[in-house]
Symmetry: C2
Subunit: 151 residues, 2 copies
DNA sequence: ACAAAATGTCTTAGCGGCTAAGATGTTCAA
DNA sequence: TTGAACATCTTAGCCGCTAAGACATTTTGT
């Protein structure tokens, strides 16, 4: 591998830090717009990004909340119409949390703005460059999850 | 501009969403490792990323917290040794929040892991590709801030 | 088949942080 | 100089979180 100067690394670090802070603010905006707390929005996001419906306990694990707290989260999400409790027919102790809203992108102004913003940015790159960027994003998310989150 | 297929857009949306969720988890890890709440860590991050010291009121604005809450945040950060209260000599009503820790990267394991992870990822690209990625990151953060956060 | 242990969720008590309103101290303007 | 504006702190009340245990269901061991 060629020699990467420290300044380059420093600039990249800055971008990551900046993007990181922007992301936290973005989540706060989305939550506010949906009439949810940051916690509730985070749990709803988990439920939406999962393959199938999650159990209450799995949401507790993924979110880091206690099971008691998750009960409250699901109560509020259910009351607001975002999810529905369904008892698992194969194990009636379990509660499956089913998301009852369709298209993710319908989730208010912040999401639309974020999408528009992304389209605008990507418009500044040609096809070859987009392939580089996609390779980067894919590798970045995978590596970050493996090395930082999944400890 | 050339024609961008919907699937490409969808894949990029997925990466952004994934990265977004990972970032939120990352902040939770960092906060936990520092013995701080998510709120306190967010405020400390604001103070660290600012040019000079911020006032308590400015932190309230930027964080979206009430001034009363910020008083508590600064109390806890000060007690934990991360910041120091300094009265502004030019306007003694104001309280400047001075960060009293040096290198940002000393901030615990998660930060180091994140940095290592970034280095590993960037190692998979040559110099030309890195320039594309940097251009993308710069444009992305700027555009996102302008279009989504600063409404 | 039955009892005991394990599992998954919900309930409750107690704690701590948040908001809103107002108190306190400082600066600005007439 | 005096009243208004400003910046922060204090306080009361509320709400969500954790920890512990209750309840219902499933699994295990005999």
């Amino acid at each position: 591998m060629f020699n990467m100067e420290p300044e380059v690394l420093e600039r990249f670090t800055w971008y990551m830090r900046e993007q990181s802070a922007l992301t936290v603010m973005f989540h706060a905006r989305v939550a506010e717009q949906m009439g949810l707390s940051a916690t509730d929005e985070k749990c709803l996001d988990l439920a939406m990004r999962a393959d199938g419906p999650l159990t209450a306990g799995r949401i507790a694990d993924l979110s880091g909340l206690s099971t008691g707290a998750v009960t409250g989260v699901i109560d509020r999400l259910e009351r607001a119409g975002y999810v529905r409790r369904v008892r698992d027919p194969h194990d009636r102790r379990k509660v499956l949390v089913e998301v009852t809203v369709g298209d993710v992108d319908k989730f208010g102004e912040p999401f639309e703005k974020a999408r528009d913003s992304m389209v605008e940015v990507l418009g500044h790159f040609d096809e070859d460059e987009l392939q580089v960027i996609e390779r980067y994003l894919k590798l970045q998310t995978e590596t970050f999850r493996k090395r930082v989150i999944d400890t």
